[in-house]
Symmetry: C2
Subunit: 249 residues, 2 copies
């Protein structure tokens, strides 16, 4: 584990990269303790604050955890699905909000991926998952529900659909696609009629899952994508002719 003294990059960046590589290629294994900050400082021939900056970079990526005290130190962290999931949602959300991705592009990606889950989800459906889907559908039928809460329930419904595939890798990969759309959806105003159509499609999908019919669930998702797109188009047309660019909140 060494750093290049001629490199122009920050020392802390070089050090964190060096340790990161060691973790990735297995030189440092899960729960292994790194040398203390002072030892690292000696090893890399830098000061302790510089080492600390490097370690904080790694901590920000959940690659290490630190513990104070006599037997404390920095330990290689087992990256959990939970941590990765949260990172994925944040990254995807920022990616969409910072890069002028069209609603259509994001929507297409999301539904393409969800349809990929449908057959597995239908095949492995379980009572919990179906109960969640039904509960969210019921919630979505309540007329007093705010648009924002309606969107949140929509996300919960789709998450249940995805998690039903009982494949944690799949759930993780889809986390971003499903949740990052929420801010975009929040820009839409759902009329009672809009909601009714969406709820009907949700029912159709839940029924298909219930019957173990993946193809039918996939068809339902396709219809839902079309519905969502047309709703969004209506909103953006109105916005572009009547008012300044959309502002979230």
């Amino acid at each position: 584990m060494k750093i290049d003294p001629k490199s122009s990059a920050d020392l802390s960046a070089q050090i964190s990269q060096s340790i990161k590589s060691a973790i990735i290629n297995g030189d440092l294994i899960v729960d292994q303790r790194l040398p203390s900050e002072s030892e690292l400082a000696d090893h890399f021939e830098v000061s302790r604050p510089t080492v600390r900056e490097a370690l904080k970079r790694l901590a920000a990526q959940s690659l290490i955890r630190t513990q104070r005290g006599a037997t404390g130190g920095a330990f290689v962290n087992r990256l959990s699905f939970e941590d990765a999931y949260a990172q994925q949602v944040t990254t995807s959300t920022l990616l969409l909000s910072m890069n002028e991705v069209s609603f259509q592009t994001a929507c297409e990606a999301r539904y393409a991926l969800e349809r990929a889950c449908a057959p597995l989800s239908a095949q492995r459906r379980n009572a919990d998952q179906l109960a969640t889907m039904r509960a969210e559908i019921f919630r979505q039928g309540q007329p007093e529900l705010s648009d924002e809460a309606f969107c949140a329930s929509d996300v919960a419904f789709h998450r249940a659909l995805v998690d039903g595939a009982a494949n944690p890798v799949l759930s993780y990969q889809l986390a971003g696609a499903v949740e990052a759309m929420q801010p975009l959806m929040n820009m839409i105003t759902f009329s009672a009629r809009d909601r009714a159509r969406i709820v009907a499609l949700h029912c159709q999908i839940a029924d298909a899952i219930d019957l173990g019919d993946g193809a039918a669930a996939s068809d339902g998702l396709q219809a839902l994508e079309k519905e969502t797109l047309s709703l969004a188009q209506k909103v953006f047309e109105t916005r572009s002719t009547k008012s300044p660019p959309p502002q979230a909140g």
Copy 2:
């Protein structure tokens, strides 16, 4: 932007979280300059090193970039697809290597997601994409190719397939699923006959894309998944009866 003095968490973690939230909910916009380190230190009532640790945490997530000099400082960074892509590959790779995910689970997720791209990719196919796919197929036919290079070419082939969907969000979401499998694939030894079967399926898929037949491409992927799984199963059976647990490298 404030922090809780009663919290037990690290000050630098609190500060980075506070700034991160400000970025996510739009209080800080892309390319906006943050206050200088000294000003932030005054604002949060901490020392400059603590502020710096917080900023390094953000830099590690590509949320800010820093610039030295008179008009320098920390700026909110536009998260690029490229950056997000790299993050996604690293995270997915570590997730698989640290969590005893079965080959089958990872494989299932990967091919399910790839099949989701097939129809779009077939519909929007272009000369570049097809040329890449054909070139990788040719490379895979060279007998002197090492197993590792064969796997790398395999990844390149699949990336071309995914990128053919011409949806950057989709490409980003699939980056992890496709590339994180490579270390797992590298544990497999491909006989000449194995390679021939895989190349044949790659041809079948490329032809289907060429013809704009998404369903056929999807079928090809399904066959390839089955082939890959049976290969892997063969390897793991041999390993478990004849030798100690697999060790990469």
